[in-house]
Each structure stands twice: as structure tokens, then as C-alpha cells.
């Protein structure tokens, strides 16, 4: 693979891997709460069913995208990536600046545990059903973002398998670590990961949208690296500026 191909493949696989790390940590916290408090059987069934649906979505929509004209695909995927990536980056900037609180896996685990232990009435089978449904919803809702990222970063350059590999690798890493420590993975630098992923997806968004509008980027695929650097620099500078007292930033 030459340098130009790597310049697209590496951010695609990296985005899928890092975004999946974030989402799998969030889903794992809830599945862990279900498994610990209600047993691993309903937790496993719920998570497994959601993973099957998510895999089906990739299998269904992945090949369909091959039939969409390339410029239209780049434009639509590019705009969606801009909306999604800049949304993540904006939130990561605000969290890095201390404007909104960081994601707290321990607090989420405690809330989920309280809800699950509060549901003690009813027959055992009914409680297992509720627990399984909780795990199912967590994996499905968090996984939707992973599916979107895998399809979006993979579709434009036929990198669906590479992006899927990145996402699966992240799942494997979190599951191995998670089941080894058997507690919420609160030490994962989630906001730094979201900052990085938001940066890469925003850069992909500008790149694809531009190509969809007929822009021939200088340096072709290598322009992605420049876009990533620009979003990262501006994002870090904005977070730093917003961290100052409000009177200095907004006179």
C-alpha cells in the first residue's frame, strides 16, 4: 500500500477503532452492571442480539452503497460526517474546557445498578427479560454510532472491511480488559479519544463533501492529514481559550 492509500486507510481504521473504543466502553459499563447484578446469561443474550442486528445493518447497507454514484455518495456521507464529527468535536472541546462535565463511567454504573436492583418485583423470568433488554438497548444504541462511522469512513474508498476490522479490534480490546478487571473502565481517557475521533471525522467530512462538490484537493488523499491537523489545532486552541475566565473570553 503506497503513502497516499495509507493516508486514507489509516485515518479510516483509526477513526473506527477509536470511536469504537469510546462506544464499547459505554456499552460495557451497562452490560457489566446487568451481568453482575442479574447474571451473565441475560446480559449475554441482550448484547448478542444487539450485535447481530448491528452486524446485519452493516451487511445490508454496506454493499448497497456500492450502487450509489460516487459523487453523490461522497456528498451525502461527507455532510453526515460533518454533522456527526463536528458535533463530537464541539462536545469534546466543551468538556476539555470544563464547560460541561466529563463522562463518568462509575456514576453511570451506579445509576444503572440502582435501577436494576430497584426492579425486584415480579417473577425471575420477567426480571431476566428486563435485564436482557437493558443490555440489548445499551449495545444497540451505542453500536449505532459505530455502524455509522464504519460505513461512513469505509464507503468512500472501499475500506468497509478495514474499518470493520478497526471496530472489531476495539471491541476485542475492551472486552479482554473489561472482563479481566470486572469493573467500569473509568480510566479510559474518553474525552481525549472523542477529541481525536471528532477531529478525524470532521476532516473526513470536509474532504468527502469537497470531493462531492467537485473539489480536487491538492495532494489528493494526503490533504486529509492537513485537514486533520487544522481541525486539531483549532479545536485545541478553542478549548484553551474557553478555559479562561468568562470575562476575558467574552468581554
Amino acid at each position: 500500500m503506497d503513502l497516499s492509500a495509507w493516508s486514507v486507510a489509516a485515518p479510516a481504521v483509526g477513526s473506527a477503532f477509536l470511536a469504537s473504543l469510546v462506544e464499547v466502553v459505554e456499552a460495557f459499563t451497562i452490560v457489566l452492571a446487568v451481568g453482575t447484578l442479574r447474571g451473565w446469561r441475560p446480559a449475554g443474550f441482550g448484547a448478542g442480539a444487539a450485535l447481530a442486528i448491528l452486524g446485519g445493518l452493516i451487511a445490508l447497507f454496506g454493499p448497497l452503497l456500492g450502487h450509489v454514484p460516487l459523487h453523490l455518495l461522497q456528498l451525502v456521507v461527507g455532510v453526515l460526517l460533518l454533522l456527526f464529527g463536528m458535533g463530537w468535536l464541539r462536545k469534546a472541546i466543551l468538556r476539555a474546557a470544563g464547560v460541561i462535565p466529563l463522562h463518568d463511567e462509575d456514576a453511570i454504573y451506579a445509576t444503572q445498578a440502582t435501577q436494576l436492583t430497584g426492579t425486584t418485583r415480579g417473577p425471575r423470568r420477567s426480571l431476566d427479560w428486563i435485564a436482557g433488554l437493558t443490555a440489548f438497548k445499551a449495545v444497540l444504541l451505542e453500536g449505532l454510532e459505530v455502524v455509522f462511522i464504519v460505513i461512513a469512513v469505509g464507503a468512500g474508498r472501499n475500506l468497509l472491511w478495514s474499518a470493520s476490522f478497526g471496530a472489531l479490534a476495539a471491541c476485542a480490546v475492551i472486552l479482554v480488559i473489561g472482563f479481566a478487571v470486572r469493573r467500569p473502565l473509568a480510566k479510559v481517557p474518553e474525552n481525549a479519544l472523542k477529541f481525536g475521533v471528532g477531529t478525524m471525522l470532521s476532516a473526513f467530512g470536509v474532504f468527502w463533501t469537497g470531493e462531492g462538490l467537485g473539489v480536487a484537493w491538492p495532494g489528493q488523499d494526503l490533504a486529509l492529514a492537513v485537514l486533520v491537523a487544522l481541525f486539531l489545532t483549532i479545536g485545541l486552541a478553542t478549548a484553551s481559550a474557553l478555559r479562561r475566565p468568562a470575562t476575558e473570553v467574552f468581554p
Binding site: L230, T238, A241, L242
Partner: protein, 72 residues
């Protein structure tokens, strides 16, 4: 039915969690697309405009949110 509703809500919030950012981005893409299609703007200039616009939207919406929360 509840799960389907939550999935749809999640899908919507993936792209439109911040309405200001989403509307500004869609408006920018529409404007750049219009300039390319109608006024035959140089594509490279269009790319530059798109990039600068996106960065400005990012900084603007983050600053606006920070200011809003500081005043609450």
C-alpha cells in the same frame, strides 16, 4: 415500539444534537454547492471556503454554548 422510538431518537441526535451547528453546517454546504453550481466558483476555492466555514462554525457554536452556560 419503545426501542424503535429510542433508536430513531438516537439516530436523530447523532446528527442534530446541536441544532445551531447542524443548521449552520447544512447552510454552509448549500451555499458552497450553490456557488459552484450557479456561479461556477473555482472548486479549490470552494474547498477552502468549506474548510474555513466549518472551522468558523465549530469555534462559533462552542463559544456560544460556553457563553450561554456562563450566563446561566
Amino acid at each position: 415500539m419503545n426501542i424503535i422510538g429510542e433508536v430513531l431518537k438516537e439516530l436523530l441526535s447523532m446528527f442534530f444534537a446541536d441544532a445551531r451547528l447542524a443548521l449552520a453546517t447544512l447552510g454552509l454546504v448549500a451555499m458552497v454547492g450553490g456557488l459552484v453550481a450557479v456561479l461556477h466558483l473555482d472548486p479549490l476555492l470552494a474547498g477552502g471556503l468549506l474548510l474555513v466555514g466549518c472551522l468558523a462554525i465549530l469555534v462559533g457554536t462552542a463559544s456560544h454554548e460556553a457563553r450561554d452556560r456562563a450566563h446561566r
